[in-house]
Symmetry: C2
Subunit: 221 residues, 2 copies
């Protein structure tokens, strides 16, 4: 009975790491679609979102069945409750990749990014993929130090996001209001993606230590 | 023992309805701060967010202690798991009100909204307050029909959001890129606020019927 239980608990963890992997793939593809104005890849991201919702519904059912059948206590219980919250975060990460892909589709065959912004978004995309990968590692290892590392990467993302907004709100902005709106939203999608990865790390620390690290500050944008 | 248990379960529901109330208050205040360029009220929203995080942490601890001590099964278990997910949604609703308030603070003493947009945002604010109030009713009653009503209000919000974006992306837009960025983000904050209220309704249906209604579609913006 205990063996079966620990196997099911491990499987719940596996579902969550699979969701992290999937969100890394989706934001990676969405970024490439954005940089190349690649409609086909954008459509793929949009249709792949069905895998996110299916996987997250299955993970939640697994958590409920663990709670119902095994009646876990103490550490295992916290771990399952953390998983339930993390499922919500990683689901949103997938949805944010879809938001990026939908802007690409909306503007196709035009490129969304004005010339000169490709490098910035390639970098935001790279950090997002890395954050999802590190969230996966944290979920697998439960290591509070690795979780703290997520915050450092998020700080880099926040800095890029702030600089992007400074450019958009500058009086010298010369790409028009439409492009500014698209870039503001894209910037926000990447920044929120990062926030959710950090939130997963915060939950893992909670799970390991029983104490929630302070909330992330709510930014201006 | 059972009496104590049902009392604690009821208290968990009360925590969630209090969070809905608080998010209604915050988005209502944030909207008034936006319409009146009222810095003091914006600051109040920002500092009131501490009550959201405190209340949501307490609600989550209550859920964990219910799961640990009472080992509920079947309907009660689903209800507690739904609560855990809803706490996340209503926390975000509070954070979105703070986002609105922070834009007001950032632009003060200027008004964020260009002339002619007050009515639109007053209406989006009104619907947001109503949605939070109705989410509270749904949490209290568990009524799937009332939960479906949330979706109808959300459709109205989505329509306003789409019309706002059409105006922002129109070549005739004459308020500059900075105002377009602010309005795009504000529009998104209200629309996301509504989505979270709908998500709470979706969870309540899950709790009542054991089946999750289909996910909301991920929009373009």
């Amino acid at each position: 009975m205990r063996t079966r239980y620990h196997q099911e608990l491990a499987e719940l963890g596996t579902s969550l790491t699979q969701l992290c992997d999937l969100s890394a793939t989706l934001i990676g593809h969405a970024t490439r679609a954005l940089l190349d104005a690649d409609l086909e890849l954008a459509e793929q991201v949009i249709s792949d979102y069905g895998r996110v919702t299916a996987l997250s519904a299955a993970a939640e059912e697994r958590a409920i069945s663990l709670l119902a059948l095994q009646q876990p206590v103490a550490g295992d219980l916290r771990s399952i409750v953390s998983c339930i919250r993390c499922i919500g975060d990683v689901e949103r990460m997938g949805a944010l990749a879809v938001h990026v892909a939908k802007i690409v589709r909306e503007r196709h065959p035009e490129h969304v990014l004005p010339a000169g912004f490709e490098g910035e978004f390639a970098e935001m995309g790279r950090i997002a993929v890395e954050l999802a990968g590190n969230a996966k590692t944290v979920v697998g290892s439960g290591d509070p130090e690795k979780a703290a590392g997520l915050r450092e990467q998020d700080d880099v993302m926040d800095g890029m996001h702030r600089r992007l907004f400074a450019a958009l709100l500058d009086r010298g902005w010369k790409h028009g209001a439409g492009a500014a709106v698209d870039l503001a939203l894209l910037g926000r999608f990447y920044e929120r993606f990062a926030d959710h990865a950090v939130e997963i790390g915060r939950r893992v620390v909670f799970e390991t230590t029983g104490t929630l690290p302070p909330e992330q500050e709510v930014g201006t944008y």
